[in-house]
Symmetry: C2
Subunit: 313 residues, 2 copies
């Protein structure tokens, strides 16, 4: 049973329609309606020791990443993050000044930079796990959901892909990653400002945490469309070109996770507005009416990704 | 280092004043201000296997309790719970139909009864832990904080204390608790309706999750006051009278946790209004100006609790 099957089968029924819920389970965040003009954007991400970080990771990096990945979900809804809560489960190993000081410092760095305030939480004894919930705001109807892509829309990503996955593969095989790539793994940058500036421009958006093909697959599913991805147009760090064999390179770029860049679609009529936002973004393909996901090389040949498991149809 | 010291020392600074935060860390829930007339009430509670429930606990009981204890925090703010998110960390042992079906059923029972909708979350692989965050609403200024108690206010509890702790002690020593007491441990009833009906009546309120003396201590700290507790007036299940020696009985009633009853204070001028709400509540003492917590027997003698650790001054 996959994560997605378990959510659909056991938990989707616990979100009744209405009751102030504009959008429930299944996007980067939920949209709630506490007041008349604005909506509340809510997302939760958990980091578990040994799954999302090495058990001996620097606590400052854990604190940093735990908040950054949650802010990335806000970026992917074009929401402004405001507040967060922290549920921290610690063993006695971490209940020390050194660990807590580092963790709080990493967390505080992100909180300060993006102006989000810690407003509550829970501290428990147990195996190390960090759950952060972010609450953001967005004027009603200005949010960008996963479901809005239409045939003919251009597909963009906000930056280089594959660096985080490459750094992780290096670490797992005992080698030292390039500092740029390691930084992408340990200190991802949530694209809050870009997300906000895409309001009214992007038709659909998701953040790339599970790998491009997997996450683009979610976006295509939600919009009931397909896509052509021009894989040679995808930006990546030069080290992936010089230090990887082609199989590793494409695995990291197309199926590697943890990049936290935005993947979004823009209708042709909005392309001029997109140019005016200033932030560099990269066009990597086009939305198709046919419900398939095709990867095409520059020379026109088809590329079949090794890890088809991430392709949802 | 205690939980409270760690929160104060490392995390309190991450809640800057202002920025839409009406009340940050340190009450049953935070109060946020997304709109002009109402406030958003936010709380988080984590249940960890082996700490908050036995590793072989019935998943339906775990699901039930995880949501119920979070709703209890809403009750203790006089808030109406609306939505919740769920961060569920599961090992492969729990990633089965049987476990998930039971868990979702227990969760759904509480969600249905109190009309709260699951709106998002996260599913992760790791040692079993359940983090639930509840979002509730309250008209501004109608919430009941911990800090409002004044000398002369009467102190009340909403029901029998000690049953959950007694059931837990029985289970730990291999005996079978009375079904009433076991139900209090496994399926606590959040006092949502009572919490709402105390708006404008109670001056301060907290839920009893860490034991009466500990939680009343938090309320006294917040209000900068003390209290006299008439311990023979505290309601408890008859089994605690017949099956416990006095030390165990008073330990469960005064310092045992997990009761999730409300403890609140009412100014003398509001006592007639309190009588009109209909729900039975129990007067157990009085707020004093002197910052101490005195436990008094019916015959006027002082009772010194065995577990002074829960008494915060």
């Amino acid at each position: 049973m996959t994560e997605f099957e378990a959510i659909e089968k056991y938990f989707a029924d616990l979100t009744p329609a209405g009751r102030g819920v504009m959008l429930g389970i299944g996007d980067d965040a939920a949209l709630l309606e506490p007041g008349p003009d604005s909506c509340l954007v809510v997302s939760t991400d958990t980091l578990v020791s040994g799954v999302h970080f090495f058990p001996d990771a620097d606590p400052a990096d854990i604190g940093y990443k735990a908040l950054a990945v949650n802010l990335s979900d806000m970026a992917a809804m074009a929401a402004l993050p405001r507040w967060f809560t922290l549920a921290l489960t610690l063993s006695e190993t971490e209940m020390t000044h050194k660990w807590l000081e580092g963790f709080a410092r990493g967390l505080g760095q992100v909180a300060g930079e993006y102006g989000v305030a810690l407003v509550g939480g829970d501290l428990c004894k147990g195996p190390l796990a960090v759950t952060i919930q972010v609450l953001g705001e967005c004027p009603k109807g200005r949010e960008i959901r996963r479901s809005g892509a239409a045939a003919g829309d251009h597909i963009y990503v906000s930056g280089e892909l594959g660096s985080a996955a490459f750094a992780l593969e290096m670490l797992k095989s005992g080698r030292t990653p390039h500092p740029d790539c390691l930084a992408r793994l340990l200190r991802p940058v949530p694209r809050i400002e870009l997300g906000l500036s895409l309001r009214g421009i992007a038709s659909a958006m998701i953040d790339i945490s599970d790998g491009l093909l997997g996450d683009l697959g979610h976006l295509l599913d939600a919009g009931n469309v397909g896509a052509r991805v021009d894989i040679d147009a995808i930006p990546f760090h030069e080290r992936l070109g010089t230090e990887c064999d082609p199989a590793q390179k494409w695995r990291c770029i197309l199926s590697g996770g943890d990049d936290y860049e935005l993947c979004f679609t823009v209708p042709p009529a909005k392309l001029q507005e997109l140019e005016r936002i200033g932030t560099p973004v990269y066009r990597i393909g086009e939305i198709l009416a046919e419900k398939e996901l095709r990867c095409i090389r520059n020379d026109g040949t088809k590329y079949v990704p090794g890890q088809a498991g991430y392709v949802h149809f």
